[in-house]
């Protein structure tokens, strides 16, 4: 489950008469967007963005929160911030100002009172049964919860046990439209209207299903792809959560120097897997400072897998770039295994990684 930063502006969560809150929320989104471009407005007064990228860039989760808080306070917004995996936990974390790590979700959810689910029926019934916390609720079997409380409670149960990221129906489906009405929401929401100001029927049909799946599986489970410029396959495209109608994806890729020649790999790992490259004698092969291989590679081992012998290889192609000030040295190597598979390996910090597969 993706860890999200939740930005909660309670003052803006209730819409007044003049629509001033919507305009201010759009302004808030614009400011948050300068820190992370993938901001998703959830409902009035609440937006989220994935923390991974900004955290790497700024050097830690608390640095991200500090940056967001500083920028928003300068513009006069009072917000509460939190980080946790999934929308539900992130919202609760924002209310409590907590930062929840990757493996800490269950421990964070367990002591919470069942009232955080905001389900009056469950909040009334569960304490009478002696179930007062989300942890105790999660300990009940899914079958029992279904039998006693019905299918709706099952999604609450999955959220309480950390299996699913969000409760259905907590997103405001009209938020994109309202933000667009005040202008300024367009960039923040990556929504583009059709040529005639509306959207065609096929598109609406697809969007309806995608939104339904998003509510069930979490917004990060339903994605659209956007090409963009980059040198490595992993930089050349991004997946962003399906957001509203007609995601604005450009089909043209801007030219970018030093990218690999076509064909491009069909599987590009978001998190590269460790790999080993060995010569005929079984000794590791490395890329020397001169940009050449230390020996002729003969065997490739992926993770814990069995060794595969190599038929051919191309490269290495060195790749030196300044990445946010720190110089980053990498080299890429294409290898063809004897079973007919072609892999793209990348060498960085004296370690080989499997970056992509030409499936």
């Amino acid at each position: 489950m993706e860890r999200l930063v939740a930005v909660l502006a309670t003052e803006l969560s209730r819409e007044g008469e003049g629509g001033e809150e919507v305009r201010q929320f759009a302004e808030l989104l614009g400011i948050v967007e300068t820190i992370c471009p993938w901001v998703t407005p959830i409902r009035l007064g609440l937006c989220t963005f994935p923390v991974r990228g900004p955290s790497r860039l700024l050097g830690g989760d608390s640095a991200v929160l500090a940056a967001v808080r500083m920028d928003l306070e300068r513009a006069g917004f009072v917000v509460r911030l939190g980080i946790a995996p999934g929308l539900f936990a992130a919202t609760v974390a924002a209310e409590r100002g907590a930062i929840v790590g990757e493996g800490e979700l269950e421990a964070f959810l367990a002591p919470l009172d069942v009232s955080v689910l905001e389900r009056p029926d469950l909040t009334r019934l569960l304490p009478r049964l002696g179930v007062r916390t989300l942890g105790a609720f999660a300990d009940l079997g899914a079958r029992e919860v279904y039998a006693r409380f019905g299918p709706d409670a099952l999604s609450c149960h999955r959220v309480a046990s950390g299996e699913e990221g969000e409760l259905p129906g907590r997103r405001d489906p009209g938020i994109f439209r309202r933000l667009r009405a005040v202008g300024g929401g367009e960039d923040a929401t990556s929504v583009q209207q059709g040529f005639d100001g509306g959207t065609d029927r096929l598109e609406q049909r697809a969007a309806m299903v995608a939104t339904r799946l998003q509510q069930r599986l979490g917004s990060a489970s339903v994605m659209v792809a956007r090409p963009r410029g980059g040198r490595c396959p992993s930089d050349q495209g991004a997946f962003v959560p399906f957001g509203g109608l007609s995601p604005a994806v450009s089909t043209t890729v801007p030219p970018w120097p030093a990218h690999l020649p076509a064909p491009a790999p069909t599987t590009v790992y978001v998190d590269p897997h460790p790999a080993q490259l060995l010569d005929a004698g079984g000794a590791p092969v490395v890329v020397l400072r001169s940009g050449l291989l230390s020996a002729t590679p003969a065997v490739c081992v992926l993770g814990e897998g069995r060794p595969r012998s190599l038929d051919a290889y191309g490269g290495p192609w060195p790749l030196v770039e300044r990445w946010w000030g720190a110089q980053r040295r990498r080299a890429r190597l294409q290898v063809v295994c004897s079973d007919g598979t072609a892999l793209l390996l990348i060498f960085e910090n004296r370690q080989w990684w499997l970056e992509a597969v030409y499936d």
């Binding site: 096929l202 697809a206 030409y358």
Partner: protein, 235 residues
């Protein structure tokens, strides 16, 4: 002297060239395929193999060894349909390469990717047929017979089309209307440190209920040096 009336319209300076149209806009206003047609469009390079379209309500099973071109072939079946305005859904395909899909010709503006595993991926594929015309399901584990049958019934009922991509043939328990098997493939390009990947030659066997007769053998570029798919001449 300028006497004829045509000269009234003659311009002393050449007219400015027409401004380039925004390609996004052109794609948007192009007439979209009729939702009621019985076939979904198919890349013309694949017409000699599979006929001139993907029948609505049908299933196409692509079997290829791991890393043997299953993703490339499966995604290629989405290219013509997505470009013609049909929405497509992709379920269970791990980390697909965006550049490769763009090079193959998939119109990424109309493709929704859903991350789901095992039994849930089959359920999600069924749900997607409510909203998209073509669903690609990448299987990593065996599909239960009942779930597979239910999915096929839903695909027929919604007049969508299903593409199943798997590395192990028995993972999909029901024979497809069209079955494409990649039997062997060879990459060309790199040798000992020289050159880079330029293309893959793959032999495929095309059979299935709807194709009739014995499976036919074809040799394909999967893909070519431009990242597209082409039938090999004279093979």
């Amino acid at each position: 002297m300028w006497l004829r009336y045509e000269h009234m319209f003659a311009s002393p300076t050449p007219l400015p060239a027409r401004p380039e149209l925004n390609q996004d806009l052109v794609a948007r206003v192009r007439p979209l395929a009729a939702a009621s047609s019985r076939r979904l469009p198919l890349l013309s390079a694949l017409h000699p193999l599979l006929g001139d379209g993907i029948q609505r309500g049908s299933s196409t099973v692509v079997v290829a060894p791991r890393g043997g071109g299953g993703s490339t072939l499966g995604l290629t079946l989405l290219t013509a349909a997505s470009s013609a305005g049909h929405w497509c859904g992709v379920v269970g395909l791990h980390d697909p390469g965006v550049m490769a899909m763009a090079d193959l010709g998939v119109d990424l503006r109309r493709v929704v990717f859903v991350a789901a595993e095992g039994g849930r991926s089959i359920e999600v594929a069924g749900e997607l047929t409510d909203g998209v015309d073509l669903v690609l399901l990448a299987l990593r584990s065996p599909a239960p017979y009942a779930a597979a049958r239910q999915l096929l019934a839903r695909v027929r009922d919604r007049r969508a089309a299903l593409v199943v991509v798997t590395t192990v043939e028995r993972h999909w328990p029901i024979g497809g209307d069209v079955e494409i098997r990649v039997s062997d493939s060879t990459w060309t390009g790199p040798e000992h440190g020289h050159g880079c990947l330029t293309g893959r030659r793959a032999t495929v066997l095309v059979g299935g209920r709807r194709m009739g007769g014995a499976p036919r053998r074809h040799t394909l570029w999967l893909p070519t040096a431009e990242g597209e798919i082409a039938l090999m001449e004279g093979a």
